[in-house]
């Protein structure tokens, strides 16, 4: 169950206006619907702990993993292997 409310049209309109983007009422309605539809996925994403100390995971690690032939992910630990 989601714990945070979705952003309403007024809030989304204000965010867009602050970025200098003018949106029609139709675009705003569609954006509200999209935000509502994605809310649970977003909360699931936000629920995954990401460390501040120790072995960090940054976007650079994702690039390095590819270049390193698929080895060395910060999350590919012994503990993870036992799952």
């Amino acid at each position: 169950m989601s714990s945070n409310p979705s952003l309403d049209a007024a809030t989304l309109g204000a965010i867009a206006a602050a970025a200098g983007v003018k949106l029609s009422p139709e675009h705003l309605d569609a954006a509200v619907a999209f935000n509502e539809a994605m809310r649970e996925d977003l909360e699931r994403l936000r629920s995954v702990p990401l460390a501040f100390v120790g072995r960090l995971a940054t976007p650079l690690d994702a690039l390095a993993w590819i270049e390193n032939g698929g080895r060395g992910s910060p999350f590919a630990t012994e503990e993870a292997t036992q799952r």
Partner: protein, 468 residues
């Protein structure tokens, strides 16, 4: 004798070398097949007939002179988001309707330098993610059932190759845009490792996932093209310096002794039963050929759709900031994505980038147990353009819910995959499988796909339109 349009690129080259046919004959046949089938499928935005015939004449001369190059005289199409010097490059959009680049994308240049003959610019979904019912150029239709989409965003590429307009077309893949139309049109498609093929000169959709690759009617053709287009491009920061593999030389080594992972979760859930059966049948065939099937799990697969979508929306919103004041000139589908991208926060976008490491870890751990992973090409079949509802067993889903389910994780991780046809399912529509391998092991993915192709006839199936 087989029609020239039924030949793969590799078969055409054999005929050119033996003198059985000439590049000019093959290009003329491609042009005629395009004239015949195009009214039914609308796969082409710009035909390049005069330029193609001139290039074919040069290829004729090279075969006579003994100076033929690796793709000499083979007709190819290019998704219309790759720049072509002197030929308009529209992105399937109104905004770039009249844009004529003065340069070739690196991939186009490499193809031309290898002797390929570009005959057409193939329709994409607008900007590679816009509306399947393209309001500017009309929808591209699936040769297997013209009430249905071929999938996208390399829609024209998939439809054109299936309709035998060309043996090879170059597509791009950010969430499945090569493998989706390949699977739904019954052809093969290769999404290389991110960075394996230079992106310079392609209109970007999401730079951290965009990947260029071929669609074709044989695995050998995928290997032949990759051999030409792969390799470092100094002017492209995303381009890898990893050495190329021998993609053609490894093709026929078979699968004996290989361990192939079969997912226990995610990929075969919410997947049509006939597609599940096709994957299981492929696993049996690999076992019969000497491979071992091992179970693998992807504990964080449920995160992939959200990571993929928020990454995609954040990057495309940034890229289209330059024309965000012209939203009314975009198709409604892509305009909606630009709008939604405005509300992806920096922290959420960066969280997605950090979490990509978590998805990569799932694969890293899986690859400790296996050499490659076998998954469906797609969970479902090409939907009708009228409603875009995808059939999964007895249930229908809107296509955004299921279409990228089996493809997005390979863009998030950057892994290479090959999609190949695996028969027909619901209402006689094509279905497929994918083979994924560790980064820069396209040679292995192609080799396994080739082994499958050699013991099946699925790649020979042609839509009724071809012979009708």
């Amino acid at each position: 004798m087989t029609n020239l349009t039924d030949c793969t690129g590799t078969e055409l080259i054999d005929r050119f070398r033996s003198g059985e046919a000439s590049p000019t004959e093959a290009v003329r046949a491609a042009i005629e097949q395009t004239e015949r089938t195009e009214p039914a499928i609308n796969a082409v935005i710009t035909r390049m007939n005069d330029l193609a015939l001139a290039a074919a004449a040069e290829s004729d001369r090279r075969y006579r002179d003994g100076t033929a190059r690796p793709l000499e005289g083979v007709p190819v199409g290019i998704k219309d988001i790759l720049a072509t010097a002197g030929v308009r490059t529209t992105a399937g959009s109104a905004i770039y309707r009249d844009w004529v680049p003065d340069y070739d994308a690196t991939v186009v240049k490499r193809l031309r330098d290898a002797g390929a003959v570009v005959v057409a610019k193939h329709a994409p979904f607008p900007f590679a993610l816009g509306h399947e019912n393209n309001p500017h150029y009309g929808p591209t239709l699936n040769p297997w059932d013209t009430e249905r989409t071929p999938g996208g965003s390399s829609s024209g590429s998939g439809a054109s190759v299936a309709a035998r307009q060309v043996p090879i077309s170059i597509g791009t893949d950010t969430g499945g845009s090569i493998r989706l139309p390949a699977t739904w049109c019954g052809v093969a498609g290769l999404k290389p490792t991110w960075g394996r093929v230079p992106n310079k000169g392609v209109m970007p959709l999401a730079w951290s996932m965009d990947t260029i690759g071929p669609l074709a009617r044989s695995v050998a053709d995928l290997a032949l093209v990759l051999d030409v287009i792969a390799g470092h491009e100094p002017a492209d920061a995303s381009s890898s310096r990893q050495p190329k593999q021998d993609y053609l030389g490894e093709l026929d080594k078979g699968v004996a002794g290989l361990r192939i992972g079969l997912p226990e979760n995610w990929f075969l859930e919410k997947c049509d039963p006939q597609i599940v059966a096709a994957v299981e049948d492929a696993a049996e065939r690999f076992t019969e050929a000497g491979a071992t099937i091992v179970p693998v799990r992807f504990p964080h697969a449920d995160l992939t759709q959200a990571i993929g979508w928020f990454t995609l929306l954040g990057e495309l919103a940034s890229l289209h900031q330059i024309t965000v004041d012209r939203l009314d000139e975009y198709d409604s589908g892509f305009a909606g994505h630009i709008v939604n991208g405005q509300f992806v926060s920096a922290t959420d976008y960066l969280r997605c980038q950090r979490l990509r490491c978590l998805i990569q870890a799932d694969y890293e751990i899986a690859f400790r147990e296996c050499d490659a992973i076998l998954v469906p090409g797609n969970s479902s079949y090409a939907p009708k353009l009228a409603d875009m509802m995808c059939q999964v067993g007895d249930t229908e889903y809107f296509w955004y819910e299921v279409a990228a389910r089996c493809t997005f994780s390979f863009n998030i991780t950057g892994l290479p995959t090959v999609a190949v046809p695996a028969g027909l399912g619901f209402e006689g529509l094509p279905l497929g499988i994918q083979i994924a391998t560790p980064p820069f092991r396209e040679d292995l993915a192609l080799r396994i796909a080739q082994a499958y192709e050699q013991v099946t006839d699925h790649h020979r199936l042609a839509p009724p339109l071809v012979n009708g």
